[in-house]
């Protein structure tokens, strides 16, 4: 356990230095910095496994060619204001510039927000309830017209306050003080939307209900990318998105194919994070997942857009072939895969019984279903390593080999008054094979100390509405352990933790704090953190929250999930962006 | 090969055996006979005795390689067993033709009756369709189909049983064959139609001076038509002779059985005087000795020879041949004293 994390930290550390050395803090120089990377990063053909994790692989200034993406699924929408897919928050930056975005750097440096449409980070008022952003001047849409502050306001209004655009998150609706605003489709007068003000064409002011120190993270969401009211066609807007990025829509057949071409009205001088290498970008939707892997390996396409990695057949090929393995990277996803123990179900209401589980679990066995070490690092905290504020610690060291410390487990069983173990239920989404296998591994682990688990399977469709997310149901059915996963919408401690550990978020249905942890200290720390504007101090608080949560012993991480993504030799300027856990889609180029 | 035959048709020791999974089926096992133009041979025997296999063998329809054929078939001076398949094919339809058992299944369901006759005609006559069609209508008329010009385009299923049989005859006769084999041409027809069909065949035979083989279970049919009669049992000829020989002086116990079981007008058709007990012999494991011995009431009178020795087909007198171990005198006295009175008494 410890070893893995030390390595992971070391990798991140290297990434940080390399990024700083190569890119001089920002990626602003574009072509220049990438050739610098090329010099230090080594020649392209010698790229090794995980190289793109710490540096830019195949750095190249060569423009032209067609960059081909394939997706096995279809997107919720290609409308930047109407999507919740992580890959799309990455991809949409090719044509949509939000107020802020993440620095174009591998490693920790990439988790830093930098200005995009805005000139700088938001300026918070003293009470923390007003956030002001100044727009850069001279940023144009692909039709040559200039971006106005009102377009940002309109974009927020349409994406958060309409019944039609349902696919994206609704954080702005949640945090902005907008009264009873009905949204721009019912109320065409934008002046009625009081949550955002535009005193002039280059200033956007957000009015919040309560102080929220991580507001900058919210405006890094593609929903803050401007949309001219006159161009909005509602749910159909995804066919004709107006571009502010280096590429614009050529054609979009929904659910089938998207073609992008260079946007001549995009100005590199205003953009510190993107490149404009290929002439065209083509995306095919609904492609056979296995075939995507084969096409990647044959060099016929360049990127699996979803960024969730190879299928099992593809993984097997990579594991068997060192040359292929060198063409892969193994980044963290934002996901923690864990078990929650209900503090309201006997005997898990006793902390010692929970601790017994922590010690008795064979974490190598519970790591296996995710694909072993390639599928994730063994986890010991609630936050994941690519969360800002993450600190490594392990409160329940379960043996040097992570296979469980049965002596300690038995001590805690005795302390809990169940020296011979007990019977309990573990709830799992029955249609998720990996999670079922984890439940079985857990069952076998705990059996060693006399804890007899019965696996209860529920459908994933209503998992959170009817089953594990419904405390009543959990109590009635004595669901002591629930196997779940969580990935944050933005990589901060608050983004990750608030929904799953805040006692005030325990809901009668759709509850993600399944352990029903309602610790006053945790709740207060979360409030304190979100009001702390100094980011260093704030990040300390998130680490503290994590510790408190782990002290409750109700949360047990199995793995910090990783993916195995393939990097074809003909792909240039490739690095893993830590904020997305996939390649930075705005940097890629192709060899011709 | 022995010397060419003087007769129009002659079979010499014909054997047609089928290798099957269960063993070798000896459907025809050493059959010989002669037939001249203008003459009629009746072949009688129970189901499975090899009558159809014999006729198909003559037509060369067992030459697809699956059957083992030996012996000789002489037709108008040509030997057919050793002749090429293709040559025999050119003889079929024209030189020799066959009226098949069960005309419903023997005619193609998807083609009109007329077109099937036209096809048969045009194989051997280089004429246009219209001419062939006229000929087909003509033939249908001659076999007694009413309104042949209308019925010519009907499909077999639109014909009644008797009409189908007539159409079958029309088809077989369309090229004036010199040898006509009629395989149970009247089974399943009612008595009046039967008589009409038989009359028709003899008329046509007379007209073309062809040789005719009539195959049947029904001795009544052969009695009317035949010059000679061949009684088959288990793939072999057991008795051969003129119609008179067979009807008035039969010498083989199996023939007695057949005569005894002949349906007559004064009896219920199903009621039989001397039913032949038991079932036809297996053609694979032929009983030792005489194939008929398990069913024969006289096997006990041969001092064991019936069950040990295969009887030979021997001439009793004047071309009358019998295959039986019973001494000739005994055969005659059994017929005269035991069988004949019993048949006459009813």
């Amino acid at each position: 356990m410890r070893k893995t994390n030390v390595l992971a930290l070391a990798a991140l550390g290297t990434a940080l230095t390399m990024g700083l050395a190569a890119c001089g803090g920002t990626a602003g120089g574009g072509g220049n910095t990438s050739s610098g990377n090329n010099a230090t990063g080594g020649a392209a053909p010698t790229a090794k496994h995980n190289d793109a994790y710490t540096k830019v692989v195949n750095a190249s200034d060569a423009k032209g060619g067609t960059l081909k993406f394939a997706l096995s699924d279809e997107p919720d929408s290609m409308d930047p204001g109407n999507t919740y897919y992580a890959w799309n928050w990455n991809f949409s930056r090719l044509y949509a510039r939000p107020l802020l975005t993440y620095a174009a750097e591998p490693g920790d440096a990439g988790l830093k927000l930098v200005p995009d449409l805005a000139e700088g980070p938001g300026e918070a008022s003293a009470d923390g309830k007003t956030w002001t952003y100044k727009l850069k001047k001279g940023i144009k849409y692909d039709d040559g017209t200039e971006v106005k502050a009102a377009d940002v306001k309109y974009a927020i209004a349409r994406s958060n306050f309409t019944d039609e655009l349902t696919d994206g998150p609704k954080y702005f609706a949640q945090y902005l003080d907008s009264g009873g605003y009905k949204g721009p489709y019912k109320d065409k007068n934008l002046d009625d939307f009081k949550g955002v003000e535009t005193p002039d064409d280059h200033t956007v002011v957000f009015k919040l209900k309560a102080p929220f120190s991580e507001f900058d993270f919210l405006v890094a969401n593609p929903q803050s990318a401007p949309v001219p009211q006159a161009k909005d066609t509602g749910v159909d807007y995804e066919k004709t998105v107006v571009s502010t990025g280096p590429y614009k829509f050529e054609s979009h057949e929904v659910g089938k194919q998207l073609n992008l071409v260079r946007n001549e009205n995009w100005d590199q001088a205003t953009d510190t994070t993107r490149k404009q290498m290929p002439d065209r970008i083509e995306v095919q939707f609904k492609q056979n997942a296995e075939d995507i892997d084969n096409r990647l390996m044959a060099g016929q396409i360049h990127v699996d857009l979803a960024g969730t990695g190879l299928q099992s057949a593809g993984r097997a090929k990579v594991v068997q072939d060192p040359a292929k393995k060198d063409s892969t990277d193994n980044p963290f996803t934002p996901f923690n895969r864990y078990a929650m123990m209900s503090t309201k179900v006997k005997p898990f209401d006793n902390i010692d019984c929970r601790k017994a589980v922590q010690y008795a679990t064979d974490k190598v066995a519970t790591q296996a279903p995710w694909g072993g070490p390639l599928g994730g690092d063994i986890g010991t905290t609630a936050m994941t390593p690519t969360t800002v504020g993450y600190k490594q610690f392990d409160l329940y060291p379960n043996g040097a080999d992570h296979k469980g410390d049965l002596t300690k487990a038995k001590e805690h069983l005795a302390a809990c008054g169940q020296p011979n173990g007990f019977e309990a239920n573990v709830a799992v989404r029955g249609d998720r094979t990996k999670e079922v296998q984890v439940a079985e591994a857990l069952q076998a682990s705990l059996d060693r100390v006399g804890i007899k688990l019965t696996i209860k399977k529920y459908p994933s469709g209503d998992w959170s509405a009817q089953y594990a997310g419904k405390p009543d149901f959990v109590h009635k059915n004595n669901l002591g352990i629930m196997i779940a996963g969580w990935g944050a919408d933005w990589p901060s401690g608050f983004g990750f933790l608030s929904q799953i550990v805040d006692g005030r978020f325990i809901k009668a249905s759709g509850n993600y704090n399944m352990m029903e942890l309602d610790d006053k200290a945790v709740n207060e720390l979360l409030d304190k953190g979100i009001q702390t504007t100094d980011s260093a101090a704030r990040n300390e608080i998130w680490a503290e929250v994590d510790k408190k949560v782990m002290e409750s012993a109700a949360f047990m991480s199995f793995v910090y999930e990783k993916t195995l993504i393939f990097r074809p030799a003909n792909l240039t300027n490739v690095y893993v962006h830590p904020a997305y856990g996939m390649y930075d889609y705005t940097w890629l180029g192709v060899k011709q | 090969m022995t010397a060419p035959s003087e007769s129009f048709l002659e079979l010499r020791d014909l054997r047609i055996h089928f290798p099957t999974e269960d063993g070798l089926v000896k459907s025809v096992d050493g059959l010989s006979f002669k037939l001249d133009r203008g003459k009629t041979l009746g072949i009688v025997g129970e189901s499975g005795s090899g009558k159809s296999v014999t006729s198909l063998g003559i037509l060369g329809l067992h030459k697809d390689g699956r059957a083992k054929i030996s012996g000789e078939i002489w037709l108008d001076g040509e030997e057919l067993v050793t002749a090429s398949q293709d040559h025999v094919r050119t003889l079929r339809g024209k030189k020799m033709a066959m009226i098949f058992q069960d005309p419903l299944s023997a005619m193609h369901p998807y083609y009109s009756v007329g077109s099937q006759i036209v096809e048969a005609y045009r194989i051997h006559h280089k004429v246009g369709k219209a001419v062939a069609r006229k000929h087909a209508i003509d033939m249908l008329g001659r076999v007694g189909i009413p309104q042949p010009d209308r019925r010519v385009d009907d499909y077999p299923h639109q014909f009644s049983g008797g009409m189908r049989q007539r159409a079958m005859i029309a088809m077989a006769l369309s090229c004036d064959p010199e040898l006509l084999i009629a395989d149970e041409p009247t089974t399943a027809l009612d008595v009046t139609v039967q008589a009409q069909i038989l009359d028709l065949m003899t008329d046509l035979q007379r007209e073309f001076d062809s040789a005719l083989i009539v195959i049947t279970h029904d001795l009544g049919v052969v009695a009317e038509l035949s010059d000679d009669i061949l009684v088959m049992y288990g793939g072999k000829c057991v008795e051969y002779g003129s119609a008179e020989d067979i009807f008035y002086r039969p010498e083989h116990p199996y023939t007695w059985g057949l005569l005894g079981s002949m349906p007559r007008l004064d009896r219920e058709p199903t009621e039989r005087l001397l039913p032949i007990k038991g079932t036809p012999p297996s053609l694979i494991n032929v009983p030792p000795g005489c194939a008929f011995n398990p069913r024969c009431g006289y096997a006990g009178r041969t001092r064991g020879r019936s069950t040990s020795q295969v009887p030979e087909l021997l001439e009793t007198e004047g071309g009358h041949l019998v295959r039986c171990h019973l001494p000739r005198a005994e055969r005659r006295s059994v017929w005269e004293n035991e069988i004949k009175p019993m048949m006459e008494s009813t």
């Binding site: 909005d232 | 094919r89 193609h108 499909y155 639109q158 088809m171």
Partner: protein, 351 residues
Amino acid sequence: MPGSDPPGHPGRTIVVAFIVRRVIAAVLMLAVVSMATFAIFFLIPRALGQTPEGMASRYVGRDATPEAIQGAVKRLHLDDPLLVQYGRFAKGIVAGQDYSLGPKKAECPAPCFGFSFNNNQPVWPTLLDRLPATLSLALGAAVIWLVTGVSIGVVSALRRGSVLDRAAMTVALAGVSLPIYFTGLVSLSVFAYTLGIFPGGGSYTPFTENPVMWFQALVLPWITLAFLYAALYARLTRAGMLETMGEDYIRTARAKGLKERTVVTKHALRATLTPILTIFGLDLGLLLGGAVLTESTFSIQGIGKLVIDAIRGNDLPVVLGVTLFAAFFIVLANLIVDVLYAVVDPRVRLS
């Protein structure tokens, strides 16, 4: 009197009356099919306790707010009584309907199968857009499998027990038992990614755009799909041919002195192919409703790919649209087969 019927082919009035009757039956059947699909999607989940909100939550983003879910319920009319929902659907087909895109309404002229719950696209144009791919795949494969399957079946039957027969039947057994998913991926990996003879998955291009590319991209899917059916048809043809060759009328044909070739082609094949034609019509009709596995394996955006994705995504309007579309093709194929059968086999009457 059997002779009083018009001989041979069915009369025109009979055919017309027959078709009219069948069309009415088909419309009724389509209505039943659509109701059944509706019931599977709405009635059964509701009976199992699902609320309109639970249903709507599938069509909105992750962790949607209650307001967003309520909005979706209203917009998709999920809270209406089932009959009203069905009525709206049926009316849409006949009279068209409107749909809120946000700033304005989209008009959906008849036949309007509604809008996808998942991507808000009108279903009918989507179906029409996907049809050419499915047609290309199905018809091309059908030609291949009919020609190869039947010829292999015939040759196998005529040379029963030969090495050729045994080899063909072994391959056919493999063809029948290997899943398309497997044969498709293997053929792609060999011919597209290793040898590079054919383009890889996802390369289907409409004929009207680039006929050469259309052809090249379809060769592997055609062969993969045809392999399965050819195997089936070879076995069917062989069995049928063996049976037919034993028929009395074949013996009759030979007894007439016909050449063996004529006996096989004119007499045996016709009888063998007639039942196969029926199966062929139905198979083709089914395939026009989408070759799900082949389309998925080769990433061809046809009807089959559309419906399987729609089922996975609980996209009722699309599922309903494809179901009706597919049912229509099956009904049509049935009708054509029945008429054809009556034409081919004089014993069959239309009734």
